[in-house]
């Protein structure tokens, strides 16, 4: 069917044994810190929304959380206290790691190219059962869907971090700003959560992507996985490896010839 099926057992074995580093420790820690914060912030945030006019949260969830935290005020205080810790640590990570992690991440992992655009045109239709036969263009370390989601997350996170404190620091803002902050806050959260289901499903549940899940702990994926799911990244890694091999062999050759010349001079 495709090229990988024709690989020999030995080749496949070596691909499976070889590991590539996909995530660095900073990204892994920030990711799991973010997961922890969202686990605390999302349920409490949803439970705060009480207005029957908005009709978002069922009454039993509202009452359950209010009883658990001891009233509306305590629930809100918990929500924004965790929220401020989240903002502080996340921003700390982003700004401390600005040059070392954030800019390289944005430059290498987030920028979309022609293949990504094509992927975006084909993949959603394939998920709906259309354009079945068409091959998907090779993907980077993150596929086009993940790249698009990363923009949603960055934008949404910014939206949450601006609109949240506006509502907490209530003395300093006029009512109209606080009125606007509410839909901004909800929409920012929704922008992230709408695709969070897919993110969690693909990362933690979908069997084909099992390695992606464990890579979020170890930081590493096998070459086999990289070749199948992130071909472009794999070939890039291969290129780097070959360049390195060339470099080393040139050095060795140069040294050998130098010593040979020296020997000849003697």
């Amino acid at each position: 069917m495709s090229a990988t099926n024709t690989l020999s057992v030995a080749e496949q074995k070596s691909l499976r044994a070889k590991m590539y580093k996909k995530h660095n420790l900073a990204n892994i820690l920030t990711h799991w810190f973010n997961v922890l914060s969202w686990l605390m912030l999302l349920p409490t945030g949803v439970a705060i929304i009480a207005s029957p006019r908005l009709g978002i949260t069922p009454l039993w969830i509202q009452e359950w959380f209010r009883n658990m935290f001891g009233g509306t005020a305590n629930l809100i205080t918990f929500h924004y206290t965790v929220g401020f810790v989240w903002i502080f640590i996340l921003m700390f990570n982003v700004f401390v790691g600005w040059r070392r992690y954030f800019i390289p991440f944005a430059a290498n992992r987030m920028i979309m190219d022609k293949d990504d655009m094509q992927w975006m045109m084909i993949k959603p239709l394939q998920m709906l059962g259309l354009r079945k036969g068409e091959p998907l263009p090779p993907q980077d370390a993150y596929n086009a869907g993940q790249k698009v989601y990363s923009y949603f997350v960055v934008l949404g996170t910014a939206g949450i971090m601006v609109s949240g404190p506006v509502m907490v620091l209530k003395e300093y803002f006029p009512p109209i700003i606080k009125q606007i902050a509410q839909p901004v806050h909800f929409l920012s959260v929704f922008m992230i959560v709408a695709w969070l289901f897919i993110h969690v499903y693909m990362g933690a549940i979908f069997p084909e992507e099992k390695e992606a899940f464990f890579s979020m702990f170890t930081g590493k994926v096998s070459a086999w996985y990289a070749k199948n799911h992130h071909a472009k990244w794999y070939w890039q890694k291969m290129q780097e490896e070959m360049d390195w091999e060339d470099e080393v062999s040139q050095k060795v050759a140069a040294e050998a010839s130098a010593s040979h010349d020296g020997a000849a001079a003697d």
Binding site: M1, S2, T4, I48, I49, A50, S51, P52, R53, L54, G55, I56, Q62, R66, G71, T72, A73, L75, I76, T77, P124, M127, L128, G129, P135, L136, M167, V168, L169, K170, E171, Y172, F173, P175, I176, K178, Q179, I180, A181, Q182, P183, F186, L187, F190, A194, W195, F197, I198, Y201, P207, E208, N228
Partner: protein
């Protein structure tokens, strides 16, 4: 009369006894340390009416009506303002309030104000801190003419119930809500002259101008919420789950071959 609270605290105001001395306004501000630029209680002057020599002048004191169906509590996003289930008073939890002012816009009587210094909404709380200890609200205790009465409408022996049952006439300033029901205000005006009924059918109510008796309207932000944002959120959620369901079912039916390239 829809109410499921244990007590139903409210006011009975004898309109014929009010002389517009405004002692209630002062007492309220002192008791509740209301900022100078705000008040929680008003006395509406209907002005001189009729032809000389048959002149009449009516003063209508009012404050939060502690409605049975308050429109203000419904628009509060966090539930910071609520109708107390024990005593029926409409209260604001100022620790939870962010002062966005949705409730102030929703109130047909305009009795809520935004305390700019604390950034929260404030209003008449029925002097709950006094009522709890067995005292009357400041405005009631101070009322020289005995115009204001306070008590529990659910208790037939209370002052307000007795005053109401012995009164020759009683009206309420009902405002129609969006759903067509009355707000069910808990201030009863007794011995009110016929002119006061104008308040129910015209919009001459001082600070309330344009509010009573019009139905409470959806603000622009509410319109946007109800007609645009909520449907979009609903659709997007359904679409997200729908796509995943299709994806998942396909995977179950076809095995994993589609993803092996």
């Amino acid at each position: 009369m829809a109410n499921d609270t244990k007590k139903r605290y409210g006011f009975v105001i004898d309109v014929s006894r009010c002389i517009d001395c405004r002692a209630c306004m002062v007492a309220c501000s002192v008791e509740n340390t209301v900022p100078y630029n705000h008040t929680r209680i008003w006395v509406h002057d209907q002005g001189v009416q009729g032809d000389w020599p048959n002149l009449k002048r009516t003063f209508v004191p009012y404050n939060c009506m502690h409605c049975d169906n308050p429109p203000c509590t419904e628009v509060c996003v966090s539930g910071a303002t609520y109708k107390n289930k024990d005593n029926g008073l409409v209260l604001v939890d100022q620790e939870a309030c962010i002062g966005c002012g949705f409730c102030a816009e929703a109130c047909p009587y305009d009795v809520r104000y935004i305390d700019e210094q604390r950034g929260v909404v404030d209003k008449c709380n029925g002097c709950f801190q006094r009522v709890e200890t067995g005292m009357m609200p400041a405005c009631v205790q101070t009322c020289v003419g005995g115009s204001r009465l306070f008590g529990d409408f659910n208790d037939p022996e209370s002052t307000v119930s007795k005053a109401l049952s012995s009164a020759s006439s009683a009206i309420r300033l009902d405002a129609k809500r969006q759903d067509g029901n009355s707000t069910g205000p808990n201030i009863y005006y007794i011995h009110a002259p016929a002119e006061m009924l104008n308040l129910v059918t015209t919009d001459k109510f001082g600070q309330m101008e344009g509010k009573v008796p019009e139905a409470s309207e959806y603000t622009l932000s509410e319109e946007v919420w109800k007609k645009l944002i909520i449907p979009v959120i609903g659709l997007a959620t359904v679409a997200t789950f729908g796509v995943q369901a299709v994806f998942f079912t396909k995977q179950l039916v076809e095995g994993e071959k589609e993803f092996e390239e």
